[in-house]
Symmetry: C2
Subunit: 342 residues, 2 copies
């Protein structure tokens, strides 16, 4: 086995073919298996390739085949722990199946989303889209219509776009039921921006759940706040200033819920005795803080896997877009567990 002559640039298929004494076409077929090749030739080509340390040039292959073995990931903010977790899972899957990952961080700028997608369209086979305003993006004139897109959380219902999302309505309903059972009597809903389906659905589920339990709508107070820790802090402060009688809170996001919980601590309201708090997501900090945060766990790993697999199915097999819904599970922790000393 000879070592490759180090000074002669990268090894091309031509070099391999030459050494194996076959044509370039035969070498290509032998390596990719696109067509039958004689057993002698196939063996010689394989050996030559190994000896020369041949690495196929992906760019050239892309140019010819039109495929990139690469998928795009468009995310408003990688810093968000829930999304970051999904990114991790997706990266693992991509690595396994030989796909590269192209990351785009849109910083919540909807204008950048469409532009990003068109840029990506030239270098990826499909895109996983985590959008906060998919409708605006999809109606942007720059929106690339040929590109397979699978949306997560938001925008899964757009034509031609498949997606995955949690059972947000069911989750909101479960939160309502749990808070009622845990002893809540006057309720606060820390909702997210009205443009987000996750926010409206979780909120809708929550109020529906309260109705089901016979709670009068006048006992539900709603405040809107960003999906962030600071949003939660600020939102709960506004809420309690207006309605100090609230004794049970549902936040659409763990980030908000944890912010609210910390704010309550600063305000001197003890959780869960004075106020029950239930979140949504089950990020890792939910179980770390004290009291632990009761929350609705989304199966982020399963969602990520499903989204990835749908995308691969669409780019590789021409599969059709579909929408997949995932159940959420109530995780009971200290923030809604009162030690009833009555």
């Amino acid at each position: 086995m000879k070592i490759e002559p180090a000074g002669s640039g990268p090894v091309t298929l031509r070099d391999v073919a030459e050494r194996a004494q076959v044509s370039i076409a035969t070498a290509s077929n032998a390596l990719t298996g696109a067509r039958r090749v004689g057993p002698g030739a196939i063996e010689r080509v394989r050996r030559s390739a190994a000896e020369l340390g041949y690495r196929p040039n992906g760019v050239a292959r892309s140019l010819r085949t039109g495929l990139h073995q690469s998928i795009g990931l468009v995310i408003p903010d990688v810093t968000n722990p829930f999304w970051a977790g999904m990114v991790g899972v997706i990266e693992g899957l991509a690595d396994e199946s030989g796909f590269q990952l192209s990351l785009v961080n849109t910083a919540f700028d909807a204008g950048r989303e469409a532009a990003s997608l068109t840029r990506l369209a030239g270098s990826v086979d499909g895109v996983l889209l985590f959008s906060t305003n998919p409708r605006a993006t999809a109606s942007d004139p720059a929106f690339p219509h040929g590109l397979p897109i699978v949306a997560v959380d938001e925008g899964f219902d757009l034509p031609g776009i498949g997606g995955v999302h949690s059972d947000n309505v069911g989750g909101g309903r479960a939160a309502a039921e749990h808070l009622v059972e845990a002893g809540g009597t006057v309720f606060g809903l820390l909702a997210g921006p009205g443009t987000l389906t996750t926010a409206t659905q979780r909120g809708a589920g929550f109020s529906a759940g309260l109705s089901d339990r016979g709670i009068d709508p006048s006992r539900l107070h709603r405040v809107t706040a960003p999906y962030s820790f600071e949003g939660g802090r600020e939102g709960v402060r506004r809420m309690l200033a207006q309605h100090p009688e609230i004794d049970a809170l549902f936040a659409c996001t763990d980030n908000q819920a944890i912010g609210a919980l910390f704010e309550c601590h600063d305000l001197g309201r003890v959780v869960p005795d004075d106020l029950l708090i239930c979140g949504f997501d089950d990020i890792s900090w939910a179980s770390r803080i004290t009291p632990g945060l009761t929350t609705l766990r989304q199966d982020a790993a399963a969602m990520a896997r499903s989204a990835f697999e749908q995308l691969v199915d669409r780019v590789a097999n021409g599969g059709a877009p579909r929408v997949e819904v995932f159940p959420v599970n109530l995780v009971r922790r200290g923030s809604t567990r009162r030690v009833t000393t009555v």
Copy 2:
């Protein structure tokens, strides 16, 4: 202005040239500016390109020029908030300068690092490497030597690899000085894995700082634990079991420090009265928890920017590798601020 005929596939440079009544070469030169082109031609080409909605095919360009306008990001774990923050910054910079970002998550598997780098070598112009074992990676036979690499935190001292890192020794020393001044008498060092330069340097700086202040080495107890929340919990438990007299703790990472702080809460040791705690990083949770975590702030944004700029300088201008060091700043918060009622 005619609209592009929607049914005829992507618009190529040939189409543009044809419509502008010039050769393909002229069209290329007019658009890229690689050579002077007559004012009439340049105008016609520009208009035709705009009218047809021409988007240059990046893959073809890559094949010809050997450049990719893309850089790789190799990270052990995107979930880590400190790294995630840097990823966000880098993404913004890449977007500004027209680079794409290829993300690889190695999941702390050093064996995957070298393989990832070789795979990336074919599709990116350079790599930003966040490694936990750069020496192993660099000595792997698969390590791609031609590829420009800029290392963050670890491995910046390897030949041919530039990098950025914080002043870890100085930070450790500052932690020591601060803990002494805050009233610490017996010290604990929650160190990271010995394979990490950040861990050894922060630890070395810390013990040097104690010596400088005349603290006898017998008053410093060291425990090794992973750089994680759970590592911090478990590490401080071991440490306090063996040396309950410790009243000041320096953790090499905010994640560890916060884990330690929470564990202390569970153990009934109140921070800061019974135990002072100082971390390193200043992740966002450090200022959210109560008491706030005193810590050494790394300027993650500046480091990210510098690393990115160095990489671009190397791929675009053939710049030489260099090492850049960033100062860290002590941020005083509740975890080391005793209300001295003496």
